[in-house]
Amino acid sequence: MSAGANGATNAGGNDAASAGVRRAARALALLAALAMAAPCAAQVPPAPAPPDTAFGRYLETLSDSTDRYFGIAAEPVDTVGLDTVLASHGATTHPFGFTVMPAFSFTRVDGPVPGVSASISGSDDPMHPGFGTLGGKLAYATGPNDWMGYGRYHERLFLGVHAFDVQLWAGRATAFMNRDRDSRYLDTWRAFVWGGDGAHYLRHDGFAAALEHDSGPWRATLGFRDVLESPRDVSASWNLLGRRLVVPFNLAAARGRTHELALDADARWHLVRGEAQGWLSNAGLGSDFDYRRVRVAAGAELPLGRTLALVPQAAYGRLRGDALPQQAFYLGGGPTLRSLPRDDRGGTTLALARVDAVLAKDLLSLAHVEDSGALPLRLGVFAAAGAVRGPDPYGGGDADGDWPRRAAWRSELGASLQYDTALLENGSFLRWSVAWAVGPGAGRPRVSVVLSRALDLLRAPAQ
């Protein structure tokens, strides 16, 4: 019982007089003590707590609240019985890391391609020096009955404190005709399940090397490749649902060995990113082809408050020299115009601009649905305009030039629903879009599903 309560109980009782005397005596004693102690206190001030002690208590107070929140997860470790070593990890016991994974892909030019991929990586220990990561893939294309595969090597080298990534590749692979688009995650399933394979392909046999430096705000890659490029025919016209192929043919690539130098640089400043890419191939490099290809792109993510993000992007591409299908710029689908089928139009000049406006909050939480974390769907709208100019790889086209003609421009409006998922690729999302062409060429709305990123006209940011 507290003293105050005690006092209140006795205030009106029979012992009131004696209580008053006791209080007076206590006050007297206290005052006496203060009076006697005062001179001493004046001479020797009470020592404050050591600063680090007080600071330690401050942090402990914060830690105590953390302990209460996390309960047994935050309890101190019981050190009894920790005198037995069960296993050891480190350089002496695990000099290498070895990974083997099954692989499968499906395109209408290769059919089902089962295979296996493997990689082996070295350790960081100086006693067992790391040798980078050596990987490879071996697969069998059941359509044309061809073995395919490649070896790949990656090593990070240091020049002082600056890291340089070396990448080597050699082998045979099926590549996209549209070299500005690299996402494959959904293509296999589109082709395999309902024949919705809209891309065009060519074969690469040869090797490639690249040296990349990533400083954070900017990144640059210098590359060279010596590759035999050859056309591919459709070899698999079937799919699981037995539907007709969305694109029943495969655009033929120009056959020849290309020796190509490539320079790729990108930079970011806050939420603005820009990149410039250049490719050069000519007889001086020993190439069968002669072309100079340039592509520049820029984009930004502009937050409007904390509710809406505006994502403007623009890209321009120009191909001079041989108008090869495998070097052309394509318009349609994915990151370009969503109201057009994938790679629907091609040319030697590309101009494209798009702006997306995406709600920052997901729809379910806006609707006050509890536990909506597993289904973060965000709504967006977009508008885009783009055009190509020059010889079309599908035939026709118009005269070469640095900027598309006014009549070639196509515009679109649309809405999208995106599902954030980092499982397939960091920063990626699945996007369902419905797009309406506006102006000349307007038709029915087109629905598409792609795995994409916020700035999808630029190459993926470094991880």
Binding site: A49, G56, I72
Partner: protein, 270 residues
């Protein structure tokens, strides 16, 4: 002999019965002082934090610690939290690029068919505590917004509380957080991290809370523990819809000199 004040107190001693307290607030005045010293800007603080963290990293030559990884099934319904698994390891690190991890304890509430080493922590040789200072590295400055939310003067330490939040609204994995910076050395001593969006749906549908703490050991601020509470979009075997995970680092020793034999000697099991 009684002091005059004591005598006065006796004379004024209250009579028995209720009394009324009289409010008597001490008043004082101090002259105004015009402070002309420039106030440290947020940019300067951020730059000093980056330098302080870099200096801290540069002073580390070797370290050893006892690392504990603990997974706890979160409370649900009437079920209290339940320890699912624990792994304890002794870790040695030394520059350049040397690391050795000795696993000392593995414990699982319900051992399954998985390999016994699945719960082991794999440490790399890096001693830079990126998990603490990721938002304050020079390369990350343009990815976050920062704001000073408080200053605490504690025992000669001025502690800045700085909030950071991602500039991007579209990156679901971008965290926001609050750090406590000790301005004596401009190092981060504590951090709380959160996510506006689920960082990896549908698997991880939310991170309720994440706390990162350092402790002062051998003249250095060292990572002491990381605690987080995860929610899953789908129930997982053994852990259900949510779990607490903690990584604790105890018995930390810094720059004591670790013999090469620690990294090269073959394992001796007892």
């Amino acid at each position: 002999m009684l002091a005059p004040a004591a005598v006065l107190a006796i004379l004024l001693a209250p009579l028995p019965g209720p009394t009324v307290a009289v409010e008597d607030t001490m008043r004082t005045e101090v002259p105004e002082v015009l402070v002309r010293a420039p106030r440290v800007t947020l940019d300067e603080i951020l730059a000093r934090v980056a330098r302080g963290e870099a200096r801290r990293d540069s002073l580390l030559r070797d370290e050893s610690f006892l690392a504990t990884l603990r997974v706890v099934r979160a409370a649900h319904g009437d079920h209290p939290p339940e320890l699912v698994a624990e792994s304890v390891s002794r870790v040695y690190r030394a520059r350049p690029h040397r690391v050795r991890t000795l696993v000392l304890r593995r414990w699982e509430a319900k051992p399954g068919k998985r390999k016994s080493g699945d719960m082991d922590m794999n440490f790399d040789a890096s001693m830079d505590e990126t998990i603490v200072n990721f938002a304050f590295r020079p390369g990350a400055r343009d990815q976050f917004r920062y704001a000073i939310v408080g200053r605490d003067l504690v025992g000669g330490h001025l502690v800045y509380r700085i909030r950071f939040e991602p500039r991007s609204l579209l990156d679901p994995a971008a965290p926001h957080g609050l750090v406590w910076v000790d301005t004596n050395e401009f190092v981060i001593v504590r951090q709380e991290v959160g996510f506006d969006h689920p960082p990896a749906p549908p698997l991880i549908s939310g991170v309720d809370r994440m706390v990162i703490e350092r402790e002062f050991v051998d003249g250095m601020w060292m990572l002491h523990r990381v605690l987080l509470r995860l929610e899953f979009g789908l129930p997982l075997p053994k852990v259900g819809r949510g779990l607490d995970m903690s990584m604790q680092f105890d018995q930390i020793a810094v720059n004591r000199g670790i013999p090469d034999s620690v990294f090269t000697a073959p394992l001796v099991k007892r």
